[in-house]
C-alpha cells in the first residue's frame, strides 16, 4: 500500500512519519510514532480507550485516518505530564479513579477537553463528557469525583 508522509504536532513537538493510506491514527501513533498511551479497546468507536485530542476536540483515534492529521495538533495522555504530573492525573490518583487503568488515558483526554472549555462543570456536564468512555472497574463514581475535584482545585488556585 502506498505510504504518505504525515507532518503534525504531537504534544507540542513537530513529528513526521510515513503512514500507509488507510492506516488509522491509533495504529499510527502506537506503531509508527511509539506513543503507547492511546489504547486499543474495540476498534469500532464504542469504548473510548483510544480517545485523543485533535485541535482541541476529542477524537476516537481508531476511527480517524492517520493521513487526516496532516498539519494538525494532536494531544495524547503521554503529553499531559509536563515536568510534574498534570492536576487531572493527580486527582485521578487521589480519588482512586483507576483500577486496571486501561480506560484512564481516554478518560483523561475527555476530561481535559471538558475542563479546557468549561472550568466550572456540573456533575451532569462531567457525566456527559465521559459518556463515550467505558470503564469496567470503578463504577465511574471515582472518575467523576476526580474530574470535579480538579475543576474545584483550579478555581481555588
Amino acid at each position: 500500500m502506498a505510504k504518505k508522509p504525515v507532518t503534525f504536532i504531537l504534544n507540542g513537538s513537530e513529528r513526521a512519519a510515513f503512514a500507509e493510506e488507510g492506516l488509522n491514527l491509533l495504529e499510527f501513533l502506537r506503531r509508527g510514532i511509539g506513543d503507547l498511551s492511546p489504547k486499543y479497546g474495540c476498534g469500532q468507536g464504542t469504548c473510548g480507550a483510544c480517545t485523543v485530542i485533535i485541535d482541541g476536540e476529542t477524537h476516537l483515534s481508531c476511527l480517524t485516518m492517520a493521513v487526516a492529521i496532516e498539519g494538525r495538533k494532536v494531544e495524547t495522555a503521554s503529553g499531559l505530564a509536563n515536568g510534574k504530573v498534570h492536576p487531572l492525573q493527580e486527582a485521578f490518583m487521589e480519588h482512586f479513579a483507576a483500577q486496571c487503568g486501561y480506560c484512564t488515558p481516554g478518560m483523561l483526554m475527555s476530561a481535559k477537553v471538558l475542563l479546557d472549555r468549561n472550568p466550572a462543570p456540573t456533575r451532569a456536564d462531567v457525566i456527559e463528557a465521559i459518556s463515550g468512555n467505558l470503564c469496567r472497574c470503578t463504577g465511574y463514581e471515582p472518575i467523576i469525583d476526580a474530574i470535579l475535584a480538579t475543576a474545584n482545585m483550579r478555581r481555588l488556585a
Binding site: 464504542t46 469504548c47 482512586f96 483500577q99 457525566i127 459518556s131 471515582p142
Partner: protein, 349 residues
C-alpha cells in the same frame, strides 16, 4: 400507566477462596544487596490492589517501611505457584503465604543483626522505620540495610523466606455427612430502591444502602474502591449484562460493545456504604476478601425491589424490560405490594 417504587433487601455470606481443602498460594521473600526486600509471587494484580496489599503485609511482618518492599508478580515462570486471582482469595490466601515467607526472612535478618550487635536475636525488635535495636535500648541498633548487607557479604547468609498457604482437606464425617467446607466468610447486606415504569418495563435503581463485613480492611481506600466498582457491576448484571440473552438459544448474543448492554456513567445510583470490620481469625492481619461479594447482594436485592414495586417475580437475570412487561401482563397489570404505615404495621402484629 405509572411509575412504581419498590424496595428490596438481600444479605449474603461469601466464602473466601475455593474450599473443601487445597487452594494453595506460595510466596518467596528475599533481601537485595541494598537491604530492600523483594516479594516474588505469581498472583495477578488486575487492578484490585494485590501488589499494594501484599506489599503492606510483607512490610508489616518484616518490620520495615513499605517503601523498602518491592512486589514482583504476575509471571508464573519466575514466581512460585499461585492458584490465581479469583474467588476473592488474593488477600487471604496470598497474604497468609507472604506472612509465612516474611517471618522466615525476618528471623534471618534478626540473626544477622544479632551477630553484628553481639546480642541474642530474641532481644531484638524492629521499629518499622528501617532500624533494628535491642528491646529497651534504642541506642544499640543497626539499620535493616546494614544487617542485610552483613548477612550477604560478611556472614554468608541469604536473608530469605518461603511461604505457602494451604487449606487442610475437609474430611466428611461418615455418619453425619458433616464437613467444614469453608474456612472464612465475608458478609454483606443491601437495601435497594428502584423505580419501575409499567408502560416500558424499564427499571431504574434510585439508591443503594449497604453494609459490607470484610474482616479487617487492610487498605481502606482500596476496599472502598472495590466496593463502589463491584456493586456497580452487580447492578449492571442485575439489569443489563448477559452474553446469552435467550439461553439456550444462542441467537441475538452480543458480539461487540455496540450490542452488549452495560450501564454508562449516566446510569449510576447513589451508593451509601458502611464497612464493618470483624478481623478473620485465619486471615492475614484479620483480612478477608472484598472482591466478588461487592456485586453479589445487588442482584437479589434488585429482584426483590422489582417484586415489591410491581409484583413481578423475576428469577432469570438480567431483569430486562421485556421480562418485566411480560410479568406485568401475565398478572393483568402492575400489582404494587401494599405498603403499611407504621401504625398499621404495629396493629397488624
Amino acid at each position: 400507566m405509572a411509575m412504581h417504587r419498590g424496595r428490596g433487601f438481600a444479605s449474603i455470606n461469601y466464602p473466601i477462596g475455593m474450599n473443601l481443602g487445597g487452594d494453595p498460594s506460595q510466596a518467596l521473600v528475599h533481601s537485595n544487596p541494598d537491604g530492600k526486600f523483594t516479594v516474588a509471587l505469581s498472583s495477578i494484580d488486575l487492578g484490585q490492589g494485590m501488589k499494594s496489599v501484599t506489599r503492606q503485609i510483607a512490610a508489616e511482618t518484616l518490620g520495615i517501611p513499605v517503601a523498602d518492599v518491592y512486589v514482583d508478580t504476575a509471571d508464573s515462570d519466575t514466581g512460585p505457584h499461585c492458584m490465581g486471582s479469583f474467588a476473592s482469595r488474593g488477600t487471604h490466601r496470598v497474604g497468609n503465604a507472604v506472612i509465612q515467607a516474611a517471618q522466615e526472612a525476618r528471623a534471618v535478618m534478626l540473626e544477622a543483626a544479632a551477630e553484628e550487635l553481639e546480642v541474642d536475636a530474641t532481644d531484638l525488635v524492629t521499629d518499622g522505620r528501617g532500624n533494628i535495636h535491642v528491646k529497651g535500648a534504642t541506642s544499640r541498633s543497626i539499620t535493616t540495610m546494614a544487617a542485610c548487607q552483613a548477612a550477604q557479604f560478611k556472614q554468608g547468609r541469604t536473608v530469605s523466606g518461603r511461604g505457602i498457604f494451604l487449606i487442610p482437606l475437609s474430611e466428611v464425617d461418615p455418619e453425619t455427612g458433616e464437613m467444614t467446607p469453608v474456612s472464612c466468610f465475608a458478609h454483606a447486606a443491601m437495601l435497594v430502591e428502584v423505580e419501575v415504569d409499567d408502560e416500558t418495563g424499564e427499571v431504574s435503581v434510585l439508591d443503594m444502602q449497604s453494609a459490607y463485613e470484610v474482616g479487617r480492611a487492610l487498605n481502606p481506600r482500596l476496599v472502598e474502591q472495590q466496593l463502589v466498582g463491584g456493586a456497580w457491576m452487580g447492578m449492571s448484571h442485575a439489569l443489563w449484562e448477559t452474553t446469552e440473552p435467550y439461553y439456550p438459544d444462542r441467537s441475538h448474543g452480543p458480539v461487540d460493545f455496540n450490542n452488549y448492554l452495560m450501564p454508562g456513567p449516566g446510569d449510576l445510583a447513589p451508593h451509601h456504604i458502611s464497612v464493618l470490620e470483624r478481623p478473620a481469625p485465619d486471615g492475614p492481619f484479620g483480612g478477608k476478601g472484598p472482591g466478588e461479594m461487592c456485586a453479589n447482594p445487588v442482584l437479589p436485592a434488585v429482584a426483590n425491589a422489582v417484586y415489591d414495586a410491581v409484583g413481578v417475580r423475576i428469577d432469570e437475570l438480567p431483569i430486562t424490560p421485556e421480562k418485566v412487561l411480560r410479568g406485568i401482563r401475565a398478572n393483568g397489570g402492575a400489582r404494587p405490594k401494599m405498603r403499611l404505615t407504621r401504625t398499621q404495621f404495629a396493629g397488624a402484629r
